[in-house]
């Protein structure tokens, strides 16, 4: 396949940035999207140009690093995949592909397609954990009976990889699907109950502090999430937050 790429180029956080057009040739439909980007970067490097900076690590849909907004959608046109799992067979010979970084005030661009998602880490640090003594006398997790449905739902929520596609897809740049998933994975389990009140209040407070927008329930986040995190998690977080606020 021969493709035209329109890619956001930005030298650094303070640079204004602009879209730059490139041509790539002889792209196999079996390549992943990131492999196609590798081909482009090889071409640019051979010409002495600055290669396009983009985040990637595991390249198997787990690390959540490959944050690209492709043809107007987070992680591209396929469903339930990250950018590294997106294959070039989703495109046709002669296509023009627009590639941008995930856009949100809370996700500032570092360079080209690389963004700073440390706002997510600060939200996690605000309450996305349970306090357990791990000095060697930790209780066996299987000793605590847990309802199967609750365990499965908590596991579903815990599959969130924090890639930020929810924020990128949301017209309001809301992080509520991410925070909802992180609240839910503990709220559904007995181990999470001890700190439940403070957790949801602190995580929501940090989310608001980071400058994410408000959720207006468009559902775009759920559709674009590579891990299929459900809107039920946002509803659960809303209930948890209301209950925590009543408790004081």
């Amino acid at each position: 396949m021969n493709l035209t790429l329109k890619i956001w180029r930005q030298k650094g956080p303070q640079d204004k940035g602009k879209m730059v057009e490139y041509k790539v040739t002889e792209i196999s439909e079996h390549m992943s999207f990131l492999e196609m980007m590798d081909v482009l970067n090889e071409q640019l490097t051979n010409k002495g140009d600055d290669p396009v900076a983009f985040d990637h690590d595991c390249r198997e849909g787990i690390c959540g690093m490959c944050s690209m907004y492709i043809n107007g959608e987070a992680h591209g046109p396929d469903r339930g995949v990250t950018t590294c799992q997106l294959h070039m067979r989703m495109f046709k010979d002669g296509d023009t592909i627009t590639i941008e970084p995930f856009r949100a005030k809370a996700f500032p661009v570092i360079k080209d397609l690389v963004i700073d998602r440390s706002s997510f880490e600060r939200i996690q640090q605000a309450g996305g954990y349970i306090s357990v003594n791990t000095s060697g006398n930790t209780q066996d997790a299987n000793a605590i009976p847990i309802d199967k449905h609750a365990a499965d739902t908590a596991m579903d929520a815990a599959t969130c990889i924090g890639c930020g596609a929810c924020v990128a897809s949301c017209k309001n740049s809301s992080a509520m699907l991410f925070v909802g998933a992180k609240v839910s994975q503990y709220a559904l389990l007995p181990q999470g109950q001890v700190e439940a009140t403070d957790r949801v209040k602190n995580m929501v407070a940090q989310m608001d502090l980071e400058g994410f927008g408000n959720c207006t329930n468009t559902g775009a986040c759920e559709v674009e999430c590579p891990k299929g995190i459900s809107l039920e998690n946002i509803a659960r977080m809303n209930r948890e937050f209301f209950a925590a606020s009543i408790k004081g």
Partner: protein, 225 residues
């Protein structure tokens, strides 16, 4: 509790609660208005009761006004905050791939409803307040004293075609707003469960049938008077 009300989720809750109140009010408004088609006398009597009952006038009416103003003001505040959350827009954004037009354009449908509501208030609410509380005429009677004035006033308003067209357009926007807003309000208060699918279906029926009913009433009076 002030922390709750100033939080993003707290604002979602209060937007949803005001929406619930307004949706119940719209249903009640429609139930009374359809009486003007079915039985003008009953419409007159009900309108007079609603317009003179102390509980409705001095307790529920202020709550309604507060609900309307709060829903609009908070809607605009949240829209500004949400726009600020993304400093640079996407060059290419395919919103239609993951969400409905209605859900992405609540601010526009809401804005048109606000314009419609201002016209509606100028047409009906302000003259009503003037007659009752400025001129002090609580009788609800026509100038000649022959029966109640409410039905006459209603049918008179729907004589010009431009006003009928404007009202129909206003109800189309109300329908578009409700097509997302109805189920969205339930999600905002944390109600997402096994009943959600059914509730969404009911919400769609509500969002289409109630505005359609209002359109029917406007057209009925225009073509029959």
């Amino acid at each position: 509790m002030s922390g709750f009300l100033n939080s993003s989720i707290g604002r979602k809750y209060t937007m949803a609660l005001s929406a619930f109140f307004l949706m119940i009010f719209i249903l009640q408004h429609f139930a009374i208005n359809i009486l003007s088609v079915l039985s003008p006398d009953t419409f007159n009597e009900t309108s007079h009761f609603m317009g003179t009952n102390a509980l409705i006038q001095y307790a529920l009416q202020p709550v309604l006004l507060f609900g309307v103003i709060y829903h609009f003001v908070m809607g605009f505040i949240l829209e500004i905050k949400n726009r600020n959350a993304r400093a640079i827009s996407y060059v290419k954004n395919n919103g239609a791939a993951n969400s409905t037009w209605m859900s992405r354009n609540m601010i526009w449908s809401g804005g048109f409803i606000l314009i419609f509501l201002i016209i509606h208030f100028l047409d009906f609410w302000f003259p009503e307040i003037n007659t009752k509380y400025i001129q002090g005429d609580m009788s609800g009677l026509l100038a000649d004293g022959e029966g109640y004035r409410y039905y006459e006033e209603l049918t008179h308003k729907f004589e010009p075609i431009w006003r009928v067209a404007l009202y129909c357009l206003g109800f189309v926007f109300l329908s578009l707003h409700l097509l997302h807003g109805f189920s969205s309000a339930f999600q905002s208060v944390g109600a997402n469960n096994k009943y959600t699918k059914g509730l969404k279906g009911f919400g769609k029926a509500y969002a289409i049938l109630i505005p359609l009913g209002f359109i029917f009433i406007a057209l009925f009076h225009h073509f029959n008077h």
